[in-house]
Amino acid sequence: VSATPITSAHLRGAAGRRLTLVVVPIAAVIALLAWGLVARGAGARPAGIGRPAPAFDLRSLDGGDVRLADMRGRVVVLNFWASWCGPCVAEAPQLADAWLRLRGARVEMLGVVFQDTTASAASFAERHGMTWPILMDPGSRTAIDYGVTGIPETIVISPSGIVTQHEVGAVTAGQLLRWTQNATTDGSRG
């Protein structure tokens, strides 16, 4: 009986197969977990972006009714804030700067008061030169409709009524100028 001699090539082949049996499942599990993490990360984007903006009809501090439906054809910036919110104090001058540059450019900026009293909101708005319409949101229904989790949060709506931006945290005037410009472009496409 002739026996085939076991060469080092045979040994390398057996070891390689064994290594493959161990490495491939481990690599597959790691790849799966990485994919899961990436997929979850992508889901962290605010859910409302790309969807029609929820309708609202809110009373402003000066007593008028403000309806989103009346603003079709213009970019709308919704800024949720409160007088008790620290970052809102820092954000107010940025909003005022953006409003100076945007008003008259078919852009509406609206402040939506989040869980605050009318008196405190009015006092804060006057102190920080917030000359754009400030709306009260009883029961936070509009905030909940827009998926607001805290303040400040800012939402940009295109002229065709689609949410194009949802920013959690304070924004700058530069960001607002860019986002409103993008929303105008999106709106002209739609």
Binding site: L32, L33, A44, G48, R51, R141, I144, G147, T149, G150
Partner: protein, 150 residues
């Protein structure tokens, strides 16, 4: 002391037994009907609100549900759920509306996606692969009976 012997009539015993069985049957049926009635009674508005709120995560308070959290946002969200229940929306419709606004992370138990389903079976698959690898190694190492030296 005189012991009293009571003569028991067999027919009397039988009728007593029948009466006891009939009473027990009636009692069981009555209890079942009452329990069934209690189950079928429509849940109150508060109960329906709580049932939905218990499945919605409070977005400002970690892993607490809107039903369990005392934060002001959770209170407002319970109010929003109450409005929706009053408007006749079902629990699933209300949850779907919250998912549209906040994404699937707003649900305390999000529906499993493809990765979750695969990950659930990954340990079993790994075990099977391990057993197969072990079996292959053992088979290769054990010399065949015919190969043993005489």
């Amino acid at each position: 002391m005189r012991r009293r012997m009571v003569r028991v009539d067999n027919g009397h015993v039988r009728s007593l037994r029948s009466f006891a069985i009939a009473s027990a049957s009636v009692a069981i049926v009555a209890v079942s009907l009452l329990a069934g009635g209690a189950r079928q009674r429509p849940a109150s508005l508060d109960q329906r609100v709580d049932d939905v709120a218990a499945t919605i995560r409070c977005p400002a308070c970690g892993d607490l549900s809107v039903a369990d959290s005392t934060s002001s946002l959770a209170v407002e969200m319970r109010g929003s759920i109450r409005d929706a229940v009053r408007a006749g929306r079902t629990a699933d419709q209300i949850r779907a509306a919250f998912v549209r606004r906040y994404g699937e992370s707003i649900l305390l138990v999000p529906p499993p996606n493809g990765v979750d389903r695969v990950a659930r079976f990954a340990p079993l698959a790994a075990l099977l692969v391990g057993i197969a690898a072990l079996w292959s190694i053992i088979r290769r190492r054990a010399p065949a009976i015919g190969d043993r030296p005489a």
